[in-house]
């Protein structure tokens, strides 16, 4: 599985059914609702045909989801998956933005580190995961590392590019009004670079989800990965789909939340634009 995904793919769920509703265009909530209902309906019909004996209907999947929440197996799996995921994503975000900023500002840093991340981003990183197991075993460390080797390169490279391409005229302005080196970084470079940094963070977080599921499928049979494998082996397809759908939904929600933080905190002028 490739480590790089486009933003459109990661947020792809939201775009279904947009064309049908020209006359309701000024009611976004209704439009979104229609899009969700349409998606569920197509799923339901496809399941009833059936497309494959291993493809459950929408309602079977929802029922399975509810029962898995009720019997505690889904919350328990998430508890185990979310720890390395959260840890890995947070570490990657801070380390990635830090390393990227440093490389953008400081030539030796760029020469030392950027090639490594370019290679890491180009490499099929999933192939490293067995190696990580070999060195770090099958515990929390291995899972966190799997998240990080997928999430870190894209965050570092986006931050680096954003810092490199910062508006030079704003830097000259800050200098002419007696801004210190630190003020130039904190008040000009980081806010100016923040849209591209956040694009990198969104891709990185999505890659982190890939990393944790991969790790749980390939090395440590725990958490969500284990739940998927288990239900597949028992031919509980509705439960398997419910698990997959839940992790996709969680990933999407996380990305939406990240976008909200960005427009709230860093680029208020883009709010409502």
């Amino acid at each position: 599985m490739a480590s790089v995904r486009t933003e459109g793919e990661a947020l792809g769920l939201a775009t279904i059914g947009r064309g049908e509703a020209r006359s309701w265009e000024n009611n976004p909530t209704l439009l979104r609702l229609v899009s969700v209902i349409l998606f569920a309906g197509i799923w339901q019909i496809a399941g009833m045909i059936p497309v494959s004996f291993a493809f459950p209907t929408f309602f079977e999947t929802v029922t399975a989801l509810v029962s898995m929440i009720a019997d505690g197996s889904l919350p328990k799996a998430y508890l185990s998956t979310l720890q390395p995921l959260l840890l890995g994503v947070i570490l990657s975000a801070f380390l990635g933005v830090g390393i990227g900023t440093l490389c953008g500002l400081w030539r030796p840093g760029e020469w030392l580190m950027i090639p490594i991340f370019i290679v890491l981003q180009a490499a099929p990183v999933a192939a490293f995961i067995p190696m990580v197991t070999f060195i770090y075993g099958i515990g929390m460390t291995a899972k966190t590392l799997a998240v990080m080797i997928l999430a870190l390169p894209v965050i570092v490279l986006n931050t680096y590019k954003a810092v490199r391409n910062v508006n030079v005229s704003l830097i000259a302005m800050c200098k002419s009004f007696l801004g210190t080196r630190w003020q130039i970084v904190s008040k000009i470079i980081l806010p100016d670079a923040s849209p591209v940094i956040f694009a990198g963070l969104r891709l990185g977080v999505a890659a982190g989800f890939v990393g944790v599921v991969l790790a749980e499928l390939l090395i440590t049979p725990t958490g969500i990965g284990d739940l998927i494998t288990y239900h597949r082996s028992r031919a509980n397809y509705a439960e398997m789909y419910a698990t997959i759908a839940s992790i996709i939904a969680l990933s999407t929600l996380t990305l939406v939340a990240l976008q909200w933080v960005e427009s709230r905190v860093f680029r208020p002028e883009k709010r409502g634009a």
Binding site: S169, L170, A172, M173, C174, K175, S176, F177, L178, G179, T180, Q183, K187, I188, P191, D192, F266, R267, P268, E269
Partner: protein, 267 residues
């Protein structure tokens, strides 16, 4: 043919004059292109001096050297008698491309110079509001730059430069990215502001009409390499109706004379 109202000043050294900015022997090259060759200039206190010349004459380079944003290859700049090589509190810059923070409101943009100096929020916003009103932008304090027209954005840039209370305002072709109607209005406002503020303005432009219209003193630069070719003091009465200045005979004669002088440098 010499116009009675057009005083030519010898380019070498003026007589007794209170000059706030002194430029001595400034030269600057980019690779093997010589942008400026040993420039000597004095900028009188409280006056508006324009640096005028065709593109490639190094006028913006000279302004940025005075601002301390570009390092010259040789020579020195003094402000208030003290040699400077970096930006300082006695100079403020207005940028050709406005250089506003797109993520900040008009209020924060105008207060940004004071924010960098660590002034408390209440104080800097009070100062900023005053200068926002001064440049005619009251009511736009909470707008973002992308919601403003080019002319209004440059007014924000001007208010930001005014609010740090510098002695010298350096303006780098401030109206070149502003449409013609707004430019005329802005020039009138600048004349009014200048009489109120009692500051020294150094103004870079490539428009002869603009230079003659607003300047007390025009420094003509010739290109390749940039040198001072002439200094002119158009004596135009600006207390009259601005629209009359544009039809004033002295104004038109001065524009024509400068054009005759610059013609040879235009390719």
């Amino acid at each position: 043919m010499r116009n009675a109202t057009l005083r030519k000043v010898p380019t070498e050294q003026p007589a007794m004059m209170d000059s706030i900015v002194e430029v001595r022997g400034i030269s600057k090259s980019y690779g093997n292109v010589e942008a400026l060759r040993s420039i000597d200039l004095d900028f009188p206190r409280g006056k508006l001096t324009s640096l005028l010349g065709p593109s490639g004459c190094g006028k913006t380079t000279l302004l940025k050297i005075i601002a301390g944003l570009i390092e010259p290859d040789g020579g020195k700049v003094s402000v208030n008698g003290r040699e400077v090589s970096k930006p300082g509190p006695e100079r403020a810059f207005v940028f050709q491309d406005f250089a506003l923070l797109p993520w900040a409101t008009v209020l924060r943009n105008v207060a940004f110079g004071l924010e960098l100096r660590g002034r408390p929020v209440a104080e800097r916003e009070k100062v900023a509001r005053h200068y926002i009103a001064e440049v005619g932008l009251s009511g736009f304090e909470d707008k973002y730059p992308h919601e403003l027209s080019g002319g209004m954005r440059q007014r924000v840039g001007l208010a930001r430069a005014l609010s740090v209370d510098a002695d010298v305002l350096l303006l780098d072709e401030p109206f070149s990215a502003v449409d013609e109607q707004n430019r005329r209005k802005f020039q009138e406002d600048l004349i009014r502001l200048r009489t109120n503020q009692n500051k020294t303005f150094i103004f870079v432009t490539h428009s002869i009409e603009e230079a003659v219209y607003i300047s007390d003193r025009i420094v003509l630069l010739s290109p390749r390499p940039g040198r001072v070719s002439q200094i002119i003091e158009p004596e135009i009465d600006r207390s009259v109706d601005p629209d009359r200045i544009h039809r004033d005979k002295h104004y038109l004669d001065t524009v024509e004379e400068i054009w005759q002088g610059l013609k040879q440098y235009v390719d």
